[in-house]
Amino acid sequence: MEFFKPATWSEALAIKAEHPDATPIAGGTDIMVELNFDVRRPGALLDLTEIAELREWSAVGDGFRVGSGVSYARIIEELGASLPGLAMAARTVGSPQIRNRGTVGGNLGAASPAGDSHPPLLAGAADIEVASVRGTRRIPAAEFYKGVKRNAMEPDELIAAFHIAAADGPQQFAKIGTRNAMVIAVCSFGLALHPSTRTVGTGVGSAAPTPRRASDAETFLAGELEWDSPGPLRDSVLVRFGELVAQAASPIDDVRGTADYRRHALSVMARRTLGWAWDSYRRN
C-alpha cells in the first residue's frame, strides 16, 4: 500500500489527480475500522491531516465555510450556537475519542446512509465544496448522495469544505440507537425551520440507500405553519408531518432493525422534533 502525506492542499490535489484510487484519510474513524476488519484494501492512502487549512472554518456572508477536517468536537464547541442541528448530530457520534478525531469530511467521503451529519446538512441546505486540479465546485447536499456509500464526486476530487447558513430558526436532530451512547443510527432525522424564507428543511438518515430529504413533508409543513402568529400546532399537522417523513423513507430489514420499526420511529421523531422546534420558535 502506498502512503501519501501531502503538506499542502495543492499537493494533495496533485496526488489525487495522479492516484485517483487513493483513499483520503483524515480522522480515520471509518477507514481504520475497514482496514482492521480487512473489508477493504486501498492501493494507496492519502493522509490529509498535515493540511492546516482543512481544519479551519470561517464566517462567510450569512453562514460558514467549514473545512472538511474540522472535528465533531470542534463543531460542537465552536459552531454549536450557530449550527445547532449539526452540533446535536455531532454529539451523537461515537465516543469522545471518536468525536475528537472524526470529521464531517469523513462522513461525506464515506457517504454511508447512517452517517450522523447528513440529516442536518440536508435540512440546512448545505453545499459541499469539492476540488481537483481541474478546479473547485459546490454540490448541494441533496445532490451529493448517490447510493449506498457512493457520492457525486469524481475520482480526482477531494472534499475541501462544506458551506452552510447559520440557523435562522430552530433546528433539531434525533437518532435511534439501541443503546444510549456510542451507537450507529438505526434511523435518524434532522429538522430545520427557516422563518426567513418560510420554508422547512428535513433530512432522513439510515432509512434509505442514501440520506435524503422528506420533500413532501417539507412542503406540507411550510404551508401549515403560521409563522407570523404562531399558535400551538394542531395534532393533525404533527401526525401528518410524521406520516410524510416516514413515507419519504425506503428502509430495509437489517441487523440493526426492521423496516417497519424505522418507518414508525421516523414518524415519532418527526412529530417530536417538530414539537420542540415549534415550541422554541413560539417562545422567541
Binding site: V33, D38, I176, R179, I184, H264, V268
Partner: protein, 768 residues
C-alpha cells in the same frame, strides 16, 4: 537454640491486606493505563504468525482442499490441514467431538479447516485466501427443537443430535392445582464479549515438546487436550498463563492452542496467533440460546404446587460443555423456591449454529428468565405483589431441591428480597426539565420526556458453585515460606487462571492471614504445579482459595513445629505479624529468627466435599456443592413510543458467605449485573440460517456507562459451614437475576407480555 535476644516483646506492625480487607489489585493500574501485557502483546525474536482458514458455510461436505497456491506465497513457512494433526484428531471438554481441523465436513460457519504460518500476519492472511476448498453446501439444521424431535433432520454426529437429555422427576407427577400459569420463553445467543481476543504464543522446545503461553481459563485441561492432539506426553506440553483480557466462559474451550503448537512444531519456530475481533466471534463458544415451555400450578393463595417445564438449549455444532449446562438449567429450573412436585425435561442439542458452551451463569441464566417471568405472571394472575409471591415460596435452609438435595447452609432468599425491596427508590423523572443522559435514547435526543413510562421489577437467581455431579473438583497450591532480606516472605504458586476477577489478590490475602506475614508474591500460573481447576462456576476463591489456605496451614504447622523445637517450648503457638506468638507467653520470636536460612515449601491438593451423579431417569441426587443467591430490583424508564429503554436503577442484594475482598465482591456484582443488563436489552448474536450477522462491536452492542446506572449493593455474609472462611461463590449470581428484573420492569412499564430477551425496540412498539 536459645531464645533469640533480638526478639521484640510485642507485635509492632499488624499485617494489613489479609482476608476481609480490600488491598489494591496488582494489575489494576496497569490495565487502566493501558500498560498491562495481554496475551496479544507477546513478542519473541524470530517468531512466525499464524492464521486460520474458516468455513464460510454452516454445513458442507469438503471435497478437496488445494494448498498449492498458498504454499507458493513468499514468506509462508507451513500450511497445515487435518492430515498434519500429529495425535488425536478430535478435542472437546466433555465429549471429544470437535476436529482440530475439519475432516471432510464442516458443521458451523467459522469452523477451522487449515492454518498457515508466515513471517508476517498479512502474509499469513494472504496465503489463507489462496487456499482453494471445494464444498458441497448442505442445508443446515438450525432449529433446536427440530434437532431433537424431527425425524427428517440430518444426524450431525454419531449418536444423534441430542447431546444430553436430563429429566427431573420429584413428587406427584399427576398433581393438579387450582391456578395454572403457562408461558413460552426464549433467550437469544449472548456473547461473552471479552475485550482481549484469543491469542497465544507457542515456542518449540529442545526436547521436542512445546512451551505455550496462553490466555485461558484452565491451563491443565488445555494441556491435556493439546498434548493428546499433538501426540505428546503431557509433561512435554508446558503452559504458562499469559495476560487474560476477560473470559466469562469463552476461554474454557480450545481456540488456537493446538493450531499454534502444530505450526511451531512443524516450522521449528515460535508461532504467535491473534484473532481479530471479527474472527473472535467465530473463535469461541457463546451462551446457549434457549426455548422454554413452563407451567406453574399454585394454590389460590399463591403457594406453588408444581412446576412442569420443557427446556431446549442449542449447543450448536459441537458439544463443548452443553451437558453440564443442561444439568444446571434443569436442576435449577424452578428457581430458589419450595416446589413439592417437579417435572422438568431439558435437552441440549447439536445443530449447525455456532457452538455454545460456558458463559457466566451457565444454564441458570436461561432458566431464571423463564421461572422469574412465571412468578410475575403468577403474581399478576392472583393480584399479589411480585415480592410477596416470591417470599411466600422462598426456599430456605432445609428446603429440598427438585433433585432431592437438602439445602444445608444459609439460603436467605426471603431476606435478600426484603432487603432489596426496602432500599430507597430513585426519584421520579423531573417533569419541568430534562437531562438527555437521564432519558431513554440518551444523548441521541429522542425524547424530552414524551412517552416515557417508569416500571419496577424484581428478579432472583440461584446458582450452583463449583463443579457438580460427582466431578473430581480440586485445586493445587504450593506455598513456600522463606526469609528474604530479613523479612518472612511467602510465595504462592498455583495453576489457577487470573482472568480479571482478582484471584491473585485473594491468594495473597489468604497467605497473609494464614501465615501472618506481610510480604507475599504470586508465582506466575503455569503447569509446573498441579491443576487449579477451571476459573469458572464461581469456584476459584472457594477451591483454589481453599487449597492456598490448606497449603498455608501445612506450612504454618511446620514453622510452629520448628519453633517448638528451636525455642524448646510446648503448647499452642500461632504466627502473627511476622512473629511466633503464644497465648500464654506472648511474642516468642521473629519468624525470621526461627526459620533462618531454611525454606518451607509445601504443595497441597485440596477438594471440596464430594457430590454425586444425578439419577439419569429421575434427576435425583446430591449433585451440587453449594448454592448462591442474588436479588435485583430494576427501575426502568421506557419510551413506549420508540421502544427505547433506560435502566434507572439496578440495586442488588447478594449473600457471599464471607467477603474475602469486599471491593472485589462489589466489583463482581457490578460487572455481573451489567452483563445481565446487556442480555436484557441489547446483547444478541443474530444468527440466520446458521450464519452470524453481527460479528463486530459495531453491531453486537454491550452496555456503556450511559446504559448502566450506579448501583446500591447490599452484601450479606452468612457463613456456609462447609466452605473455607464460610465463603460463597460470587461471580455468577448477579448475572442471573439482573436480566429478569429488568424485563419485569419493562413489562410493568409497558403492560406487554414480553417473553424473549434481549428486548428489542420492535418488541415494545409492535414493529418486529
Amino acid at each position: 537454640m536459645s531464645r533469640p535476644t533480638s526478639a521484640p516483646d510485642r507485635i509492632t506492625t499488624p499485617i494489613s491486606g489479609g482476608v476481609g480487607a480490600s488491598p489494591p489489585r496488582p494489575d489494576g493500574t496497569l490495565k487502566v493505563k493501558g500498560e498491562f501485557a495481554y496475551s496479544s502483546d507477546m513478542w519473541i525474536d524470530d517468531m512466525l504468525w499464524g492464521a486460520t482458514l474458516r468455513s464460510p458455510h454452516p454445513y458442507a461436505r469438503i471435497n478437496s482442499v488445494d494448498l498449492t497456491e498458498a504454499l507458493k506465497v513468499p514468506g509462508v513457512h507451513a500450511v497445515l490441514t487435518h492430515d498434519d494433526v500429529p495425535g488425536q484428531m478430535l478435542f472437546g471438554l466433555e465429549h471429544t467431538d470437535q476436529p482440530v481441523l475439519a475432516v471432510d465436513i464442516v458443521r458451523y460457519q467459522g469452523e477451522a479447516i487449515a492454518v498457515v504460518a508466515a513471517d508476517h500476519p498479512e502474509t499469513a492472511r494472504r496465503a489463507i485466501a489462496k487456499i482453494v476448498v471445494d464444498y458441497d453446501v448442505l442445508e443446515p439444521l438450525t432449529d433446536m427443537e427440530e434437532a431433537v424431535h424431527s425425524t427428517d433432520a440430518p444426524t450431525l454426529h454419531p449418536g444423534g443430535n441430542v447431546v444430553r437429555h436430563l429429566p427431573i422427576r420429584r413428587g406427584d407427577q399427576e398433581v393438579t392445582a387450582p391456578v395454572v400459569i403457562r408461558g413460552e420463553y426464549e433467550v437469544g445467543m449472548q456473547d461473552q464479549a471479552f475485550l482481549g481476543p484469543e491469542s497465544g504464543l507457542a515456542v518449540p522446545a529442545e526436547d521436542g515438546g512445546i512451551d505455550l503461553y496462553i490466555a485461558t481459563q484452565w491451563l491443565h485441561v488445555d494441556q491435556k487436550q493439546v498434548a493428546a492432539c499433538l501426540g505428546l506426553p503431557p509433561e512435554k506440553v508446558r503452559l504458562t498463563l499469559a495476560g487474560v483480557g476477560g473470559a466469562f466462559g469463552a476461554r474454557e474451550d480450545l481456540s488456537m492452542q493446538v493450531h499454534a503448537s502444530m505450526l511451531a512444531l512443524r516450522t521449528g519456530r515460535p508461532v504467535k496467533m491473534v484473532y481479530s475481533r471479527e474472527e473472535s466471534f467465530f473463535g469461541h463458544v457463546h451462551r446457549h440460546p434457549a426455548k422454554m415451555y413452563y407451567e406453574h400450578g399454585a394454590t389460590r393463595d399463591g403457594k406453588l404446587v408444581y412446576v412442569k417445564a420443557r427446556m431446549f438449549l442449542d449447543g450448536g455444532a459441537y458439544a463443548s460443555s452443553t451437558g453440564a449446562v443442561v444439568a444446571n438449567a434443569a436442576t435449577l429450573g424452578v428457581g430458589p423456591y419450595e416446589v413439592p412436585n417437579v417435572s422438568i425435561d431439558c435437552w441440549g442439542t447439536y445443530t449447525n449454529n455456532p457452538p455454545c458452551g460456558a458463559m457466566r451463569g451457565f444454564g441458570a441464566v436461561q432458566a431464571a428468565f423463564a421461572y422469574e417471568s412465571q412468578m410475575d405472571k403468577l403474581a399478576a394472575e392472583l393480584g399479589l405483589d411480585p415480592v410477596d409471591v416470591r417470599v411466600l415460596n422462598a426456599m430456605s435452609e432445609g428446603t429440598a431441591m427438585p433433585t432431592g438435595q437438602i439445602i444445608d447452609s444459609p439460603a436467605p432468599v426471603a431476606e435478600l428480597l426484603r432487603r432489596v425491596e426496602a432500599m430507597p427508590l430513585p426519584d421520579a423523572a423531573p417533569t419541568d426539565s430534562y437531562d438527555l443522559r437521564q432519558l431513554p435514547g440518551g444523548v441521541s435526543n429522542t425524547t424530552h420526556g414524551e412517552g416515557v413510562v417508569r416500571g419496577i421489577g424484581y428478579g432472583i437467581g440461584i446458582k450452583n458453585v463449583c463443579f457438580s455431579e460427582g466431578f473430581d473438583d480440586f485445586s493445587t497450591a504450593r506455598v513456600r515460606l522463606e526469609i528474604i532480606a530479613g523479612e518472612p516472605t511467602a510465595m504462592v504458586h498455583t495453576a489457577a487462571a487470573e482472568v480479571g476477577q482478582g484471584l491473585v489478590t485473594v491468594q495473597a490475602q489468604i497467605a497473609r492471614t494464614e501465615l501472618g506475614v506481610e510480604r507475599v508474591t504470586i508465582h506466575p500460573a503455569d503447569t509446573q504445579v498441579g491443576s487449579g481447576g477451571s476459573t469458572s462456576a464461581s469456584r476459584q476463591t472457594y477451591v483454589t482459595g481453599g487449597a492456598v489456605k490448606a497449603a498455608c496451614e501445612k506450612v504454618r504447622g511446620m514453622v510452629l513445629d520448628l519453633a517448638r523445637e528451636r525455642l524448646d517450648i510446648d503448647g499452642e503457638l500461632r504466627m502473627e505479624g511476622g512473629k511466633i506468638v503464644s497465648d500464654r507467653l506472648g511474642v516468642l520470636a521473629a519468624v525470621a529468627d526461627v526459620l533462618g536460612d531454611d525454606a518451607i515449601d509445601e504443595t497441597v491438593e485440596w477438594r471440596h466435599r464430594p457430590t454425586e451423579a444425578l439419577d439419569p431417569t429421575t434427576g435425583q441426587g446430591f449433585a451440587h456443592v453449594q448454592y448462591a443467591f442474588a436479588v435485583h430490583r430494576a427501575v426502568v424508564d421506557v419510551d413506549v413510543d420508540l421502544g427505547l429503554v433506560r435502566v434507572v436503577a439496578l440495586d442488588c442484594a447478594q449473600d457471599v458467605g464471607k467477603a474475602i475482598n469486599p471491593d472485589a465482591v462489589v466489583g463482581q456484582i457490578h460487572g455481573g449485573s451489567a452483563q445481565g443488563l446487556g442480555l436484557a436489552v441489547m446483547e444478541e448474536i443474530q444468527v440466520k440460517g446458521g450464519k452470524i450477522r453481527n460479528p463486530s462491536f459495531t453491531d453486537y452492542l454491550i452496555p456503556t456507562i450511559l446504559d448502566m446506572p450506579p448501583m446500591k449493593v447490599d452484601v450479606l455474609e452468612l457463613a456456609d459451614p462447609h466452605a473455607p472462611y464460610g465463603l460463597r461463590g460470587v461471580g455468577e449470581p448477579p448475572t442471573i437475576s439482573s436480566t429478569p428484573a429488568i424485563v419485569a420492569a419493562i413489562r410493568a412499564a409497558t403492560g406487554l407480555a414480553i417473553a424473549r430477551v434481549p428486548v428489542r425496540p420492535e418488541d415494545i412498539t409492535g414493529t418486529a
